[in-house]
Point group: C2
């Protein structure tokens, strides 16, 4: 199996991407094609591993910046690492593509380059969040900010398959993100979406609220990409603020520093639980191929875990399973 | 000045409400009318204070439950503490009303009972959130889940006045919650709203993202009530999860307990910073009178602080200021 990885994507590229790839190749016995500026990638490979078996480089001369407009940059920069990486999948030279670069550009290049799976209307980004019980898969977190009810239903169907076959948990429950649990809650759009879910054989439990993303009430939460994007970014920022404030307040206390030392290992296991990098990247669901999107601040561990997720999607024939489910629905 | 307080509202009513009211009357020299079941309120007053000067009781025989449908319960339960409390303001017998009860019912009773301020189309709930720099006022967090652009503009105008005169900070900046900072981001609804803000003399800085609620990038963030409600509930839930997990992981460590003891005072000052109860209740902006909404889990401190906020709104002639600003806009 070969995974194409955008070596130029993310705030710490290409260094941390190359490090994550080296770790992944060692741990998962997967081949990786690093896509990007060969003159920058080659020295990093040379420095960090002897005979990096399984890693090859596909040179690309352009980079799409993190804040560039998605659609126009994908059209303009045909030799960017993102466009070249997607094309490797399209041409069958790679089985999957991972990028921690410009999310909008990955969505756009993935959709234009690979096309949608037959029957699927729009792509959606799924995001695994930690919850008090286990994990919650939130979909969509920003690919489709103005969806139709039928598109949210398709997100639910794809998330159900992702949860079973990639996250390996049985019979996942699905909730619809809303402002209250009662059937009457929400706009007409949400009422219509709820009715569509009610008619399926999915394990749909009805409306859930913002608090349920972290309470673990349900395994999958479906929402429109606008709300999903806002709530994801707010949550990340809040978790960081709490850690910052905690540290600041602890260090104000003369004994706080010793306290922090005492607590070192506990804090580490706590951080592992809330650390997004443990959960791998976010799958772009619905496109005709395996595409994983990483956080712009992905570290080497996040890159490694994203490659693990890409590998699992390919091994489990994830896109075939979606096709099967959509055909039946 | 007289503040009507819903003695039956909130998960720990009437006990904590009465305790918060006693503290507020002592600290702020405000008179309070406790609205609710006299047979339950009187013993609490008798037990906790001798000659509770400034506290009177207005009996009401009904209670609207936390999960009852807002509109129908307000129409049906004319002798509920929420409806009676709002009517005290309407009749000029109280200057403001506070309830930690059913939020939807308070919005509904406040809107029907007091009417809107002339020129204001819809009520909005403002919520003060802690940020890394200071505080952020998020509006609307759930009164209006399907607003028009002109209504979001009115929320911005009212929040600007609230920030200046109640929160006492000069020249507050205002951002529009969106999925990216660029002008082109968001749905047509958000683009139209942004254009309306651009034409005003408000200190409008453009689009902001979910992460900016806690980063302190701007003082006020305007959003539709659906997104605001989801992000508020998710944030509360995440903050609780982090505290729970932290405690759990600390106590797993044999030295963790001693660490917690060492850190006691630091954790207390940290909790004060992120504790919603310090920030008082959430103002219901736009209705023709002062109404403050409390969290269902309000403790005595939250009740006391909400009364402080209600008092500040009355003292600063908050509704008159809105009328002046709307007339000018």
């Amino acid at each position: 199996m070969k995974i194409a990885v955008d070596a130029m994507g993310g705030d710490y590229a290409p260094d941390v991407v190359v490090r994550g790839v080296i770790d992944a190749v060692r741990e998962y016995k997967t081949e990786v094609i690093l896509v990007g500026d060969e003159t920058r990638i080659a020295p990093l490979l040379k420095k960090s591993c002897r005979g990096c078996d399984g890693i090859s480089v596909q040179h690309s001369s352009e980079v799409i910046g993190m804040s560039e407009s998605a659609a126009s940059s994908v059209r303009r920069k045909r030799d960017s690492s993102i466009v070249v990486g997607v094309n490797l999948v399209k041409q069958g030279k790679a089985d999957a593509f991972f990028s921690a670069g410009n999310t909008g550009a990955v969505v756009c290049a993935g959709t234009l380059g690979l096309g949608m799976l037959p029957g699927i209307e729009r792509p959606g980004i799924g995001m695994v969040m930690p919850s008090l019980k286990d994990i919650t898969l939130l979909i969509d977190v920003g690919a489709n900010i103005n969806p139709k009810p039928a598109q949210l239903l398709q997100y639910g169907i794809m998330a159900d398959i992702y949860f079973r076959h990639i996250l390996k948990r049985e019979n996942p429950s699905i909730g619809l993100l809303n402002v209250g649990e009662e059937e009457s809650k929400g706009t007409d759009f949400y009422k219509e979406t709820r009715e569509l879910f009610d008619k399926t054989s999915l394990n749909f439990i009805g409306n859930v609220e913002g608090k349920d993303i972290f309470s673990g009430k349900t395994d999958i939460i479906v929402c429109d990409g606008f709300v999903g994007n806002v709530v994801l970014k707010a949550s990340e920022s809040l978790a960081e603020m709490i850690q910052d404030l905690l540290k600041k307040h602890l260090l104000k206390n003369p004994l706080g520093f010793f306290g922090l030392l005492l607590l070192g290992s506990s804090l580490k296991s706590f951080k592992k639980k809330v650390d997004y990098s443990e959960y791998g990247g976010a799958p772009l669901l619905g496109v005709n191929g395996v595409v994983i999107i990483g956080h712009g601040r992905s570290n080497a561990n996040a890159v490694k875990n994203a490659i693990r997720v890409a590998r699992a999607e390919v091994e489990n024939r994830f896109t075939d399973r979606i096709l099967g489910a959509i055909g039946k629905s």
